[in-house]
């Protein structure tokens, strides 16, 4: 396994800048997720690491060695795509064995058997080894695709939205298994997704990308608890963070178009006007709460309930465990956990606290 370093990478496709001066390092054995919307530059980054594209500016290092001039085959990376590219007429076993039988490797059959068995066990597909891949379900095919990457024991795993074609339940269970396998093997993995839950739940660290720039790199806790910009804040977390314009006044923060007036602690110094971020779990409904509003909407999700509270012209979203006795249009009292507030510069969206 390897560590990877990208140094001042810029990549253009004709007039479009896909990546603009991007630098970061991935540690040996790390599960590193590239998260961002379509067009952010995630897949381009992955393809550059694989050597499927060549950067215009900058360098890529594996274990401190420059790999810029190495063709994909010599970088020893394994790619797993969203679309499973298996040979439908071959058995699962032969699909798994295929990369090992290539003329470049010529692995002895006994060793192939061992590696295929071991990968199949990890992915719970031992019972499918004799089947033709064309007859498998989507989830099984994606397991085989991942298995085919694992048997090679590459320096790096590159995964491009491998779970996004699966239905919700399958995605959930494969996500957990993939994470477990990665942790057991300590394989350096770069995983691309637009799904914030995948990123939060699987990553050791996340790089949030947008329009060819890195907005933030950090652990899931860093990204969720201290989002660097409003874009990052809104990208992670369901339901979404409340983001409200506010002005400062005598040690208080007044949320515009509402009656909300928050006490600021003395050590916070803010400009006159800020965007205030409040996570839904930090809007705590309680009968003796400091603030009041009207229930605009109730969304019961079973495990928890989302409550939309109308205060003046603003709506605050709160999330409470289990069910609620509240009713639509009823008055409701609540507190806001002020030590969990997020402040952002209004124009740039950059974090202030």
């Amino acid at each position: 396994m390897s560590n990877i370093r990208l140094e001042n990478i810029t990549k253009k496709f004709k007039e479009v800048t896909a990546l603009n001066d991007v630098s970061f390092s991935i540690k040996d054995g790390e599960f590193f997720v590239l998260l961002g919307p379509t067009g952010a530059g995630k897949t381009t980054t992955l393809r550059l690491i694989a050597g499927l594209e060549k950067q215009d500016v900058g360098h890529i290092h594996f274990d401190g060695e420059l790999v810029d001039e190495l063709p994909p085959a010599e970088r020893d990376v394994a790619f797993v795509f969203q679309q499973y590219s298996l040979y439908p007429s071959m058995s699962v076993y032969d699909n798994l064995a295929f990369p090992l039988r290539s003329p470049m490797r010529q692995t002895p059959e006994a060793e192939i058997r061992m590696r295929v068995q071991s990968a199949a066990e990890k992915l719970r597909i031992t019972h499918l080894l004799e089947r033709k891949t064309g007859k498998l379900s989507g989830g099984e095919m994606q397991r085989v695709s991942i298995g085919r990457a694992i048997v090679r024991e590459p320096r790096v795993f590159l995964m491009d939205e491998p779970l996004s074609n699966l239905d919700a339940k399958l995605r959930e269970s494969l996500r957990v298994e993939l994470k477990h396998i990665q942790k057991t093997q300590n394989s350096t993995t770069v995983f691309v997704t637009h799904d914030q839950i995948e990123a939060l739940t699987m990553a050791d660290r996340i790089a949030v990308l947008d329009e060819g720039h890195i907005l933030q790199i950090g652990t899931p806790f860093d990204i969720y608890d201290r989002p660097a910009t409003t874009a990052v804040a809104q990208l992670v977390g369901t339901p979404k963070i409340n983001l409200l314009p506010a002005v400062r006044q005598n040690g208080h923060l007044l949320i515009e178009s509402s009656t909300l007036k928050l006490q600021l602690s003395d050590d916070v110094s803010l400009p006159e006007a800020v965007s205030t971020g409040i996570r839904p779990e930090n809007v705590e409904i309680m009968s003796d709460g400091q603030f009041s509003g009207k229930v605009a909407l109730i969304e019961p999700l079973g495990v928890e309930t989302i409550i939309h509270i109308r205060i003046g012209e603003q709506t605050l979203i709160s999330i409470v465990p289990g069910t609620t006795n509240l009713r639509i249009d009823e008055d409701v009292r609540f507190n806001i956990a002020v030590n969990h507030l997020h402040f952002f510069e209004q124009n740039s969206g950059v974090r202030l606290n």
């Binding site: 919307p37 957990v176 809104q234 909407l297 969304e299 465990p321 069910t323």
Partner: protein, 365 residues
């Protein structure tokens, strides 16, 4: 607004059932969600209500009047699809006005009504634009406005949020529900997304294999699933379902674990299980209480942060993983031992053969 009744409505394509005989009453003003995986019969049911699909047998009544063989246009319904189906060469205003013009309403009344719905959906500022230039969210608002403008007897919606990005979906979901609260229009809404169904429905009709599995409020469907399918399908992740054998007040579970059945359930298990005493224990991730002295023993398979909470994935044996919701600072090493108990009032039991939930006295059927 109409009450809609389906009486023994069925649909066959050739020899195979798309919908097996189905009885359902949708109350006037109710928001009903038809929920299930693809191919379960939910969309066919919706299309039969609309008249776009003929029933094979059975009757459909709107406010007591049999509409089974009425043409869709004579049923006074409005349809909202996943794909917006707007006229690209017309302005937003003309798209919304179109159904009214077709009805022959006066220009003055049309203008008033279009302004009303545009205000309701907050799309006044795009009335003169062409739909093609709008965001997905705004296009779906226009499609909704066009459905609302006529004040039909019922709204039928077929995965209207399916084509939107995740970030729009959450807010559009709330907008549609709030709109329903203000309008109280009878609405039948089809989705495969259980979160959408839970958040929006007054009642959820869970379908699988052409059959209604359960029709109840979101809370009931979540807390008291009628069978294993519903237990698995609702919730993310679904209910933990673990098979064991019942004997003398306890159930043996994988990994040499024994689970003490809450006393209120013992007589139920004793009378309702087959002679082999096999039973499936069901519990939601939030029913798990990590507790150093808990009677169930597991090892940590994976732990992940979901933002406001942590999900633990706990292995009882190589084939059995329990998902447990925990505080966000809960952290375990790979393979570390974790002991837990189950909150007694949150445990359910299922019959492994019939796959049906066992019922305590006094529980709803």
């Amino acid at each position: 607004m109409a009450t809609i009744e389906l009486k023994q409505v069925e649909k066959k394509f050739g020899d195979s059932f798309a919908v097996k005989p189905l009885d359902l009453t949708i109350n006037s003003g109710e928001f009903i969600v038809l929920l299930g995986p693809s191919g379960c019969g939910k969309t066919t049911t919706l299309r039969m209500i609309s008249g776009l699909e003929a029933v094979t047998s059975g009757n459909i009544l709107f406010d007591g009047k049999d509409v089974t063989w009425l043409h869709p246009s004579a049923r006074d319904i409005a349809f909202v699809f996943q794909f917006f189906a707007l006229y690209s060469h017309l302005s937003v205003r003309d798209n919304i006005a179109f159904p009214l013009q077709a009805q022959g309403m006066s220009r003055e009344d049309i203008k008033k009504r279009v302004a009303e719905v545009a205000d309701m959906l907050k799309i006044e500022h795009v009335l003169n634009a062409r739909p093609g230039g709008l965001s997905g969210g705004d296009q779906q608002r226009v499609a909704l406005a066009r459905a609302l403008v006529r004040k039909p007897a019922a709204f039928l919606m077929d995965e209207p949020l399916g084509a939107l990005d995740a970030e729009f979906r959450e807010s559009m979901r709330a907008e549609i529900k709030r709109l329903h609260i203000d309008q109280h229009a009878t609405t039948v809404y089809v989705t495969h997304d259980q979160i959408e169904a839970m958040a929006m429905g007054d009642r959820i009709v869970v379908m699988s294999n052409a059959v209604v599995q359960q029709a109840d409020t979101p809370t009931e469907v979540y807390n008291n699933p009628s069978n294993l399918f519903v237990a698995r399908f609702i919730g993310s992740p679904g209910m933990n379902l673990i098979e064991g054998h019942y004997a003398d007040g306890t159930i043996n579970l994988p990994g040499d674990n024994r689970y003490s059945v809450p006393s209120g359930w013992r007589s139920v298990l004793e009378t309702q299980l087959a002679s082999d005493r096999r039973v499936i224990v069901g519990f939601r991730p939030e029913a798990v209480q990590v507790d150093g002295t808990g009677e169930i023993n597991s090892t940590n398979y994976a732990t992940d942060l979901h933002g406001g909470y942590t999900m633990l994935h706990l292995q009882l044996d190589p084939d059995t993983i329990v998902h447990a919701r925990a505080g966000r600072d809960m952290r375990y090493q790979l393979s570390e031992t974790v002991r837990f108990t189950l909150k007694p009032d949150m445990v359910r039991f299922f019959h492994p053969e019939t796959e049906m939930a066992l019922k305590q006295n006094g529980m709803k059927n």
